[in-house]
């Protein structure tokens, strides 16, 4: 049985990435220094190590969730904003394992492009993908939502004005 100790350094608390080992999501725990740690045990000699990030506006039912949130939050008054930057993480590494393996994953500051992480490990590894990406679909949806909200707010304002003028 091989042990893989992962440490994620420099993560923004608002942007928690998904860590996948051979396609399975791994839960990480925050330590006292603000880094995230996890230990994985496996029989394999080589594992695929991926880092991704969920965007709410990338989900299949995003329009339904956005609509329900808008209604529940009293037409968006109490609604927290969707992530405006729409940046995803796309990292995939193939990592050769020894008996005990320590991997430190250093995150670069969030950007529209460029390398996302730096791996610090004595193990051999192959970097297949490593970068921050601007998700254009999510960005388009974010802009569409903003336009729809503005139109609804203007409509509601006009309706409120009409009702008040009727009452007075």
């Amino acid at each position: 049985m091989k042990t893989l100790k992962l440490k994620l350094i420099g993560i923004n608390s608002k942007i928690i990435p998904n860590i996948l080992i051979d396609g399975k999501m791994v839960k990480c725990k925050k330590n006292e220094f603000g880094s995230y740690e996890t230990t994985v045990e496996t029989e394999k000699d080589v594992v695929e190590f991926a880092i991704t990030r969920d965007l709410e506006l990338k989900s299949k039912l995003w329009w339904l969730y956005a609509f329900l949130s808008f209604i529940v939050s009293v037409f968006g008054i109490f609604e927290p904003f969707y992530d405006r930057k729409c940046i995803t993480i796309d990292c995939l590494f193939k990592l050769k394992l020894n008996e005990l393996n320590e991997v430190n994953v250093k995150f670069h500051p969030f950007a529209n492009e460029g390398k996302a992480v730096e791996l610090e490990t004595p193990n051999e590894y192959e970097e297949i993908k490593n970068g921050y990406l601007l998700d254009k679909t999510a960005k388009k949806r974010w802009i569409a939502l903003l336009i729809i909200k503005i139109i609804v707010w203007i409509g509601l304002g006009i309706l409120a004005g009409f009702l008040i003028s009727k009452l007075i």
Partner: protein, 146 residues
């Protein structure tokens, strides 16, 4: 060792939606608790306005009525307006308090459900809001009973 888990994207998206709802309820509970507090403080506000006006009359030994002949009507107008506001808040207090308690409990449940991120600040805030709403409810209930 941390367990490896497979969460389907649809389930994860639904979880994200529930967390969003939790945040919405948390935001709502903050505004609603302020409305509850308005119910209590507007009542005190009316009393403060009356005390200030009486104090002005005493300090000026009544000469305020010579300086400003409209002082009494001004005083009664202010008391009327503040009284109207406090009546509105007190009449609707139980609605505000009920909604505050419901939204803060819902936000607490939904935010605690999130196993990926700990929403410590929001959970603490919602707990404080819940406590304040309950205290306000007891204060008003005791006041009405008294």
């Amino acid at each position: 060792m941390q367990p490896q888990t497979t969460t389907s994207p649809l389930k994860q998206d639904f979880m994200n939606f529930l967390i969003r709802l939790g945040k919405i309820f948390s935001n709502m509970s903050i505004v609603l608790v302020l409305l509850c507090l308005c119910g209590i403080f507007s009542f005190a506000g009316t009393a403060i306005v009356i005390i200030i006006c009486v104090f002005i009359i005493i300090i000026t030994v009544g000469t305020i009525f010579l300086i400003n002949p409209n002082f009494f009507s001004l005083f009664t107008n202010i008391v009327e307006v503040t009284g109207g506001i406090s009546t509105f808040f007190l009449e609707n207090f139980y609605i505000f308090a009920g909604l505050t308690i419901a939204t803060s409990i819902l936000s607490l449940i939904l935010l605690v459900l999130d196993r990926r991120t700990k929403h410590v600040a929001r959970i603490v805030l919602s707990s404080v809001v819940l406590a304040v709403a309950l205290i306000c409810l007891i204060v008003i209930a005791v006041g009405v009973a008294g």
